[in-house]
Chain length 188, copies 2
DNA sequence: TTGACTCTGTACCATTCGGTACACTGCGCT
DNA sequence: AGCGCAGTGTACCGAATGGTACAGAGTCAA
C-alpha cells in the first residue's frame, strides 16, 4: 500500500541508531522493524544478505563520514595545530550527537567481531596513521607522532566507554579537550 | 553419572573466558555448554537465574580481582610513583592474559547494558576515583589528579579496543607504558 | 493503458534461543 | 545401611530468532 518512505541511505542511518542503542546482536529483526518502522520486506529489499549486510552498510556509512570529515582534512592539513583543533571539534560533535557510541568499537567487542574485523582494522589504522602523519608534518619525530596518535585515538575511544559507563556527556567533552591539549602541547 | 567436576568459581572463570571470546550475547547457552563442558543442569544449579546471573557473577569476579589487585594497593599506597608502576604492571599482565578484553567495557557497549549499568558504573568510578586519590596524595592538585586519572583509565580502555582491532598485543604494552610514563611525569 | 520495476506488508519457515523438569549419581553424614 | 543433598545429563517447552516467499501498491516510461 504505501510507497518509498525511506531510501537506502535513510535506512542505513536508522539502522545505525538502532545498533548504537541496542548493540548489534541486541538489535533483533523485530526490534529493527519496530524502531525503524520498516517491514521485513523493505529491510531485505535494501539488504539482501540480511543483518550481516546491514552491519556492513552501517560501518561503511560511518567510515565514509570519517573519511570525509576527519581523515581527508587530516590528509590535506598544512598546519598540524589547526588540524588537531578541527579533528577534536568534529569528533566531539559527532559522538555527542550519536549516543557517545563508536560503532566500530561495538563491533570490535561484540560477538560478530570476525565478520567485520577487516573494516574495523582499516578504520582504526586509518585514523591513527593519518593523525600520526599530520603530527609528523607538524614537526614531531616519526615515532613520537605514532605514539601520540595511538594514545589520542585510544583516549577518545576509552573516553566514550567511560562516558557511557558514567552516563555523562561531560566525560566526552573533557576527554576530547585534554587529548587536543596534549597533542597541541607536543607540537613545536 | 559424574560428580562435581567444577565448583562455582571454576564455572565463573570458564564463563568469563566464553564471554571474552564471544561477547555476552554471542555466548548462547549451547555455546556455553560446549565451551565450558558443563551441561544445562550444572549451569542452572550454579546460576539459578540463568544468563543474567552468569553475567553478574562474572562481573563480580572481575570486580573482586581488581579490588584486591588494583584498587586496594591504590588505596593503601604511600608512594604515588610506585603505586602507578605497580598498577601499570598488574593491569598489563591482566589484560594480556585475558584476550585483551575488559568485560566491563563489553557490558557497557553491549545490548544488556542496562542490566549491568550499576556494576559498570561502580567499577569505572572506583578505578578513576582511587587513582585520582593516589595521585592527589602524591602531590598533584585535585582537579589535575582527577583529569589525569580519567585519561589514564580511558587510554587503557581505548588501548584494549585498538589492540583488539589491530590484533596486536604490542598495542596494550605500548599504551600501558605510555600511560605509566604520563602519570609519573606529572608527579612532583 | 500497459507492463516493468521498486518498494512494502504479511504469512510463514526451520532453527535456535533461554529456561524448566526431572530423574539420576555419588559423596558425606549419621 | 540409609538418607539427604549437591551436582549432573537429557528431554523438553514456548517464544523469539534470522530468513524466505509472495502478492500487492505505487511509479514511471513507452
Amino acid at each position: 500500500m504505501p510507497r518509498t518512505l525511506l531510501d537506502r541511505s535513510d535506512a542505513v542511518l536508522a539502522l545505525a541508531g538502532v545498533f548504537r542503542r541496542r548493540g548489534f546482536e541486541g538489535a533483533s529483526l523485530s526490534v529493527i522493524q519496530q524502531e525503524t518502522g520498516m517491514g521485513r520486506g523493505s529491510l531485505y529489499h535494501f539488504f539482501p544478505e540480511g543483518k550481516t549486510d546491514m552491519g556492513r552498510a552501517v560501518l561503511a556509512e560511518v567510515q565514509a563520514w570519517f573519511e570525509e570529515q576527519v581523515f581527508e582534512p587530516l590528509r590535506a592539513s598544512e598546519d598540524a595545530d589547526s588540524a588537531v583543533v578541527k579533528m577534536a571539534r568534529t569528533v566531539e560533535e559527532y559522538f555527542l550527537s550519536r549516543q557517545r557510541v563508536c560503532l566500530f568499537a561495538v563491533m570490535a567487542l561484540g560477538g560478530e567481531r570476525e565478520t567485520y574485523a577487516e573494516a574495523v582494522r582499516i578504520y582504526f589504522s586509518d585514523w591513527v596513521g593519518l593523525l600520526a602523519q599530520a603530527l609528523g608534518r607538524g614537526g614531531i619525530a616519526e615515532q613520537d607522532a605514532a605514539d601520540l596518535a595511538m594514545d589520542a585515538v585510544a583516549t577518545i575511544q576509552g573516553g566514550l566507554i567511560l562516558a557511557r559507563a558514567l552516563d555523562d556527556d561531560a566525560v566526552v567533552v573533557g576527554t576530547v579537550a585534554r587529548v587536543e591539549r596534549r597533542l597541541r602541547d607536543a607540537l613545536p
